[in-house]
């Protein structure tokens, strides 16, 4: 009966045409809250100062610049060998785990696949509350039922859901305060990214580039859930400049005349052109602008139905935080037919421009295997790094029988966030090497179903592996690189202790010397460590925490653990 009521609620929500709804907490399964810790507020000032906050981990990617650099050095190159598990918490969901733990005054918030949220005592791992979202009858998502975490703001935590909702929960109790239907899941919209909280707004993008959605970033009022603005990642004129070369100057073998004829016959494809946004925007508080990446055009492999550059797919985009108005963009691959898109989140830092002058810059790690370095003011490209993975046969066009090209469609750098150690001028990326063939076959828009326009196929007889790569973003040169046994997906974090932490699909969680790439510590977690690590400090003790739940996309062993590490006495 309860379940039937929830179905009715779902139907009602769809009919209410994106109206915010105040929901009774009785409609959800919520554990009892306790009086643990200080769960009062996350102020805007705290969020602004997160970069220098050695106690909390307040943003998905550490701070608004998204450097994922943790400023505490208690755990460092000299003592990391003594790092031991402090506690392990097992969620009730054994499936792909991509959460970035958020820590506020000793309370940790983590999410799991299928939209569970847990509040934990960050010192002991004890559960404080557990919220389980009742997903509607239709949830259409790519690459696993993932969720990448919450945003904490004021006295609430926020989560996007697989059935395309934005939820606001009471941070103290986990009770649902409000929910907002973001878009129609039956048309392929879903949310897996963590929201971003800033200046009274909750920002969230959408997945669905594999389903013919029209991508967007939306801003909601943090208190009420009211929609404030929408930026569509595919403008009504998505034609662009008919670019024939990618960001690195390689010819993409486009048939421009055929595309122009198709455009005249079919019109602009913007309504079903994809351009999903998978990861948090970087926020520049000085200019009041945000920077984010838009993913592949739909259908992924079939360009015949979407003539033109397919703006702003596969692009770095900047918009005004207050209004959502376009500021600038840079497109890496116009008219992409390989799904070698832009997924990993943007990072703001200071970079050397072409004349060696230090300017505000934006970094992005592409599925192509390059780190791209941009000027923040106009999004223009300053340089791109050496390729971090093998590139072969670029840009051969997909065929019906399948064309082999490297990288495979998972990258390079997938959605995994990079990290920056500004003291070293290095950005650290994790990469995949997963050879694939690209098969194209045209089919019409399937109204919310998978719409790849063909198929990707892993070449099972070829070796797969990964690497951790440090790139000097002021020169584009690879400083060091460590090969891993399996393709890498999840995330990475650098610390003031001179360490870089990242996990692997085989269960190893490792710490490297940020300067040299020397492996200094490792721990076998028993399931794939394919989530971004965080760090925090409670009672003067620094911890590093990471999820070990494996990954659906790369078939890594599933688990359900959140593991916190600290130095042995």
């Amino acid at each position: 009966m309860k379940s039937m009521n929830l179905r009715a609620l779902y139907m009602g929500a769809a009919a209410a045409a994106l109206m915010a709804t105040s929901i009774s907490a009785t409609a959800q399964e919520v554990g009892a809250g306790t009086k643990y810790g200080d769960m009062t507020t996350v102020s805007q000032d705290m969020l602004n100062r997160a970069e220098g906050d050695g106690n909390n981990f307040l943003h998905t990617n550490g701070n608004y610049d998204q450097t994922r650099y943790y400023p505490n050095s208690q755990i460092n190159t000299g003592n990391v060998g003594k790092l031991r598990p402090a506690w392990m918490f097992q969620t009730e969901v054994t499936e792909s785990l991509e959460t970035s733990p958020i820590v506020v005054n000793g309370i940790m918030y983590v999410t799991t696949s299928f939209n569970h949220v847990y509040a934990l005592n960050a010192r002991t791992g004890e559960e404080i509350w557990h919220f389980k979202h009742k997903i509607g009858p239709v949830a259409t998502y790519c690459c696993g039922p993932n969720n990448r975490g919450v945003a904490a703001y004021g006295d609430m935590v926020y989560m996007g859901t697989l059935d395309s909702k934005l939820l606001a929960l009471d941070a103290k109790t986990g009770k649902l305060i409000w929910e907002q239907q973001i878009a129609d899941p039956e048309l392929g919209y879903s949310e897996t990214m963590a929201p971003t909280a800033v200046n009274g707004k909750i920002l969230i993008g959408t997945n669905g580039g594999e389903y013919g959605i029209r991508g967007f970033v939306k801003a909601y009022d943090a208190k009420t859930g009211q929609l404030l603005w929408t930026f569509n990642t595919t403008p009504e004129d998505s034609t662009g400049v008919w670019a024939t070369k990618d960001a690195t100057g390689r010819d993409m073998l486009r048939d421009i005349e055929a595309e122009k004829a198709a455009l005249a016959a079919q019109g602009d494809p913007y309504k079903t052109l994809g351009g999903g946004v998978w990861q948090n925007p970087a926020v520049d508080l000085e200019t009041n602008r945000i920077y984010f990446l838009a993913g592949n055009p739909s259908p992924d492999l079939d360009g015949s139905l979407r003539p033109g550059d397919n703006l702003y797919t596969n692009s770095l985009i900047s918009v005004d935080l207050e209004t959502g108005k376009y500021v600038c963009h840079f497109q890496y691959i116009a008219h992409d037919v390989w799904d070698l898109d832009a997924v990993s989140p943007a990072i703001l830092t200071t970079v050397a421009d072409k004349d060696g002058k230090m300017v505000k810059g934006v970094l992005h790690g592409g599925k192509t295997g390059h780190v791209y370095v941009h000027k923040a003011d106009d999004c223009s490209l300053i340089r791109f790094s050496e390729a971090m993975v093998p590139q072969e046969n670029m840009w051969v066009l997909p065929t019906k029988e399948g064309a082999r090209m490297l990288p495979g469609a998972n990258g390079g750098v997938e959605w995994s966030p990079m990290t920056v150690d500004e003291s070293k001028g290095l950005v650290y990326a994790i990469n995949l090497h997963q050879p694939m063939t690209y098969h194209v076959e045209s089919s019409p828009y399937p109204s919310g179903k998978l719409w790849l326009g063909g198929a990707f196929k892993v070449i099972a007889t070829e070796e797969q592996w990964g690497n951790v790569t440090a790139v000097d973003y002021n020169t584009g040169k690879v400083r060091w690189q460590v090969k891993t046994a399996q393709p890498m997906i999840g995330g990475i974090m650098a610390t003031a202790g001179g360490l870089t932490f990242t996990g692997e699909g085989n269960g190893y969680f490792k710490a490297y010397d940020s300067g040299t790439g020397a492996l200094l510590w490792k721990f076998q977690a028993g399931a794939g460590v394919n989530a971004p690590p965080s760090s925090y400090t409670v009672d003067g003790q620094q911890y590093v925490v990471v999820g070990a739940g494996g990954n659906a996309q790369l078939k890594f062993k599933r688990g359900n653990s959140i593991i916190a590490f600290t130095l042995a006495d």
Partner: protein, 188 residues
């Protein structure tokens, strides 16, 4: 095969009635048992198990049967009588039933080969590691082997035409690989 379906349908008088206000979901679902089984075990091996299958998947299939984007001489006229609310209610009714065991056991060679096929086709990216699926992605683990084989081949030949990308993917595999996959999945 189709004749056998028709015979069963005609015998039992398959139809989901448009329904009166008093009609319960059990009443509406009753005719389905003629093929899909009263205890969740399909009456004919070519028929899929729908007990415990996901609401989203069953709903989308009913919708496609109604629009005839998924062609079936049996299911098209049945779905034609259903409105969205009926489809969702029926789909949820069957999801809440327990998934029945067919007792099928895979040969060791099929398990090894099936796992390789999964890697190549990235099947478990969507159907998940257990092949239990979720929402609009069907559970394949423990589905009837004959149905699985029939439907994988039907995607390849495009006899089943309501998911073009599945057809593109199946086309990259030899028939024998698809048969192996059906034997692997049926035993999970």
């Amino acid at each position: 095969m189709k004749l056998k379906f028709f015979a069963a349908a005609a015998l039992i008088g398959l139809a989901v009635s448009p329904g009166s206000a008093q009609e319960t979901i059990e009443d509406k679902a009753k005719p389905c048992a003629a093929c899909h089984g009263e205890d969740g075990i399909p009456k004919m091996p070519e028929v899929p198990n729908i007990w415990g299958q996901h609401t989203g998947y069953l709903y989308i299939q009913l919708k496609d049967f109604k629009s005839k984007s998924r062609a079936s001489e049996i299911m098209n006229p049945i779905a034609d009588q259903l409105e969205k609310a009926d489809m969702l209610a029926l789909a949820q009714y069957f999801e809440e039933k327990p998934w029945p065991s067919t007792g099928y056991r895979s040969e060791a060679a099929d398990v090894i080969k099936g796992d390789t096929i999964d890697t190549a086709g990235m099947c478990s990216s969507c159907h998940l590691g257990t092949f239990f699926g979720d929402s609009v992605i069907p559970r394949l683990a423990g589905q009837t082997q004959v149905y699985l084989e029939r439907i994988l081949i039907a995607f390849k030949t495009r006899e089943r035409a309501n998911n073009a990308d599945k057809s593109s993917l199946m086309e990259t595999f030899a028939d024998e690989d698809l048969k192996t996959m059906s034997r692997y999945l049926a035993g999970l």
